[in-house]
Amino acid sequence: MIRSSSSLLPVEVNASLSETLQVISAEPLDVVALLSQAHHPGAGAVVLFSGEVRDSNKGREVACLEYEAYAPLAVKMIHEILAEARKKWGLRLAIAQHRIGRLSIGESAVVVITASAHRREAYEANQHIIHRIKHEVPIWKCEYFTDGGHQWGNNCNC
């Protein structure tokens, strides 16, 4: 069995991670565990993006966020986005996981990990994937503010 020198995980485990990972999760995202599995012997670069809950937005203090998704379509679209990115940038690995439910400040809402032979492809693909997840996939954020108000979506600053 071939093993990845960096993680000592079987290559087969790494290769199937993108197929078995639950891309929409009601449980807290374990960023460190995801990264520990995201190694490939052919990848000299691994890029991890974690979108995390900020304590303010446009001058209002945020208490928490809540995400919901239309999961059947969201899962399908995220898999398609990852597959397209793998092909376009020749990635060794591309995974994404998005949280749903109520999140506290500092929690990770979404993780995207890309791995490629060299860093340029991993960086570019990672930005592309998170941009498409934010703008195309049926997942919505509701911000709850400390002043008692709440606001759905339409607040992307990117």
Partner: protein, 77 residues
Amino acid sequence: MKIHVYATLKDYFSSEFELNAVARNTDELKLRLLEINDGAKSILDNCRFAIEEGFIDHDHKLKENDTVIIIPPSSGG
């Protein structure tokens, strides 16, 4: 026809409800929904529509027993 709405549309409609009116396509469905709550017009104008796991175009023929998912602009991440 069953209707499921998400996110900000839940401020205007029940998250799941039965529509007992004729809507042959998504344009007609939007009109029926505005008859229930016309405050949702600007949001509905920017929504996508789906059946099960696929988006549908405005000229897709809806059937009486369809479950239509109404999808506001995404705001994940």
